[in-house]
C-alpha cells in the first residue's frame, strides 16, 4: 500500500485523562498510532481499554490533553470547537454501533444532512446523496424512515451518510455490534468493497474474528497501543 506517503492519521504520545468521581482515569496514556491512506485498520481491545476515547479523539469529537495529532496534514490540537466541527464534517465519516440516524427523517434526508452542513447546493446534494445510497445498495429505500428499515439497512444508510461527504477516513465504532452475524457479515463485506475502492477505514471492535479480516490490526490495552 501507500505506506511511504504521509499518514492520514499520525498520533504521537496522545494522553487523555478523565476525572470520574474524584479519581483520575488515564483513558489514553501516551498512545501512538499511524494510519496511511487506503489502509483498512482495525483497533481491537477489551472494554475499558480506551478504544472509545481513541475513537473520539480520532473523530475529533474530543481533544486530547497532550500529544500530537495530525489528521490529513492538519494539526488538530490547536483547533477551536467550530473548526473541529468543520473537520468532522469534511474529513471524517462516522459509523456508530447504534446507527444514530435521525428517526424523523427519511434515509435520503439523513444522508443529505452532513452535506447541508457543508453548505452545498441542492442539486449537488441530491446527486451525492443518490450516489452514496447507490454504493450501499439502497437506492430504492431513499424515502423510507429508519424505523421502516431493518438493522442492516439502517447501518447501510449510516455508512452512506458517512460516505456522502467523501471523507479522508471512515471511522466505524463496532458497526456490527447491534446486528446478527449474517447481516454483520454483509456490512463487513461492504466495508471490504469500500476499502478496495480506495477508502481509508478505521474499524473499532472487540471481536477478534472481525479484526482478523482487516488488513492491519492495532491492539489497545490500558490506554497504550
Amino acid at each position: 500500500m501507500a505506506a511511504d506517503s504521509a499518514p492520514v492519521i499520525a498520533m504521537r504520545d496522545i494522553t487523555k485523562v478523565y476525572t470520574v468521581g474524584g479519581e483520575e482515569v488515564r483513558a489514553l496514556d501516551g498512545a501512538n498510532l499511524f494510519i496511511h491512506e487506503g489502509e483498512f485498520v482495525s483497533v481491537i481491545g477489551p472494554s475499558g481499554s480506551g478504544k472509545s476515547t481513541l475513537m473520539n479523539i480520532i473523530g475529533c469529537l474530543d481533544v486530547a490533553d497532550s500529544g500530537e495529532y495530525v489528521l490529513d496534514g492538519q494539526n488538530i490540537l490547536q483547533y477551536s470547537g467550530r473548526q473541529l466541527a468543520r473537520i468532522r464534517n469534511r474529513k471524517i465519516g462516522f459509523v456508530f454501533q447504534s446507527f444514530n440516524l435521525l428517526s424523523k427523517m427519511t434515509a435520503e434526508e439523513n444522508v443529505e444532512l452532513p452535506l447541508i452542513y457543508q453548505g452545498l447546493h441542492l442539486g449537488k446534494r441530491k446527486e451525492r446523496t443518490r450516489l452514496a445510497l447507490e454504493r450501499v445498495g439502497l437506492s430504492d429505500r431513499g424515502r423510507h424512515k429508519p424505523t421502516e428499515l431493518s438493522g442492516g439497512q439502517q447501518q447501510r444508510v449510516a455508512i452512506a451518510r458517512a460516505l456522502a461527504t467523501d471523507p479522508a477516513i471512515l471511522l466505524a465504532d463496532e458497526p456490527t455490534g447491534n446486528l446478527d452475524s449474517k447481516t454483520g457479515a454483509d456490512i463487513l463485506r461492504l466495508f471490504h468493497e469500500l476499502h478496495e475502492a480506495g477508502n481509508t477505514i478505521v474499524l473499532i471492535t472487540h471481536d477478534e474474528r472481525i479484526a482478523k479480516q482487516t488488513q492491519r490490526c492495532v491492539r489497545i490495552m490500558d490506554g497504550r497501543v
Binding site: N56, L61, A85, N89, L102, I116, Y117
Partner: protein
Amino acid sequence: MVFQSLKMALNAIAASKMRSFLTMLGIIIGVTALVVMVSLVSGATGAVTSEISSLGNDMITVSIRADKGSPLRLEDLDAIKALDAVDQAAPSGSMNATAKYGYSDAMVSVYGTTAAYYDIQGLELAQGRFIKTTDVNNGSYIAVLSDEAATELFNRTDIIGETFTIAGRAFRVVGVLAKDDSLMSGMMSSLSVYVPFTVESRMAGQPYITSISISSANAQDMDATEDAINRFFMKRFEQDEDAFSLMNMSSITDALGTVTDTLTLLLGGIAAISLLVGGVGIMNIMLVSVTERTKEIGIRKAIGAGRGSIMMQFLIEALLLSLFGCVFGLLFSWGILEIVTLIAGGISFAMSPSTIALAVGFSSAIGLIFGLYPANKAAKKHPIEALRYDG
C-alpha cells in the same frame, strides 16, 4: 443554510402539533389582547375625533365673562368679521324656556343668534329657511326648530307657518332643521329652538353678547386665527385675559388625543406583559425540547454541525413558534374586531398596519430573546455526552 434551518424547524414544530399549539397559546393570547385593545381604543378615538371635526374644526367659541364697562353689542361683531383671519361671526345667547303648542309643552334650549350662525355651526335645514338679518333687525318673533324639538312639540315636522309659544310669547315657525344622527348631538340636548338674537336677548334680559361663534377664514391655520381673535379681545378688554375665554374644537381634539394615547399605552402595556408570559412559555418548552433532543443534537454535531448551525436551528424554531402564534393571534383579533364592529354599529374597529407591525415586531423579539437561552444550551452540548444520552 437559513432555508435548511427553517425547514428543520418547521419539521420539528409539525412533529408535535399539540405541544406546539399549546406553546403558541401564550403568544396567541398576548397578541390578541394587544391588537384588540389597541384597535378598540384607536377605533373609538377615530369615531369621536371625526365627530368633533364634523362639528367644525374651523370654529372658535368666545365666552365673555366680564365686560369691563364696555359690553359687546351686535355692531362689534362687524369689527371681528373685519379681521383677516375671520370668516364669519355670530352671537349665541342662550336660555331655557318652556315651549307650548296646543296641549303639549316641552323644556327647550332657546338660542338667540344671527343668520351667520347657520354656516358657522354647519347646520342643515330640512325645510323652510333660517333666521335672516332682517329678522334680527326687526326683532321678528320667528323660530327655527331642531327636528327633535319639532317632533316633541308638534308630533310632526311639516310645521312651517304654525304658531307656538315660548315663555308665553307667540312665535311663527319658519324652518325645521334636518335630523342630526351624529354621536355628539346625542350627547347634547337637542331640543333646540333658534330665534333672532334681538328677540332672545330681550326675553332673557341680557341685551349684550356673552358668547360668540366664529369661523376661521383658514381652517388649516387655526392657531393664527386664535391669535388674531385673542389680540382683538385683549385690546377690547384692556389686556385682561380673564375677561374672556376662547375655545377651539381642535384643542378638544388635542386633549382627547392625549387621553387616548395614554390609554393606548396603558392597555398596550398590560397586553405586552401577557406576551412576555407567552415568551416564558416558549423558553420553557424549548428547554424541554432541547433536553429531549440531546441525542439528535449529538448526531448532528458528530456529522459536522457547528455550534452556529445548532444554535440557528433552535433559535429559528423559537422564532417560528412565536411568529405562528402571532399570525393566529392576528387572525383571532381580526375576528373579534369584526364582531365588535358588527355589534357597535357605526363605529368601525380595524387593525391598523402599524398595530400589526407592532404585534409582529414584538412577537419576533420575544421569540428571539426567549429562544436564545435554550438555543445556546443546545449549541453548547458536548458531542460525546450528547451522543451517549438515552432519551
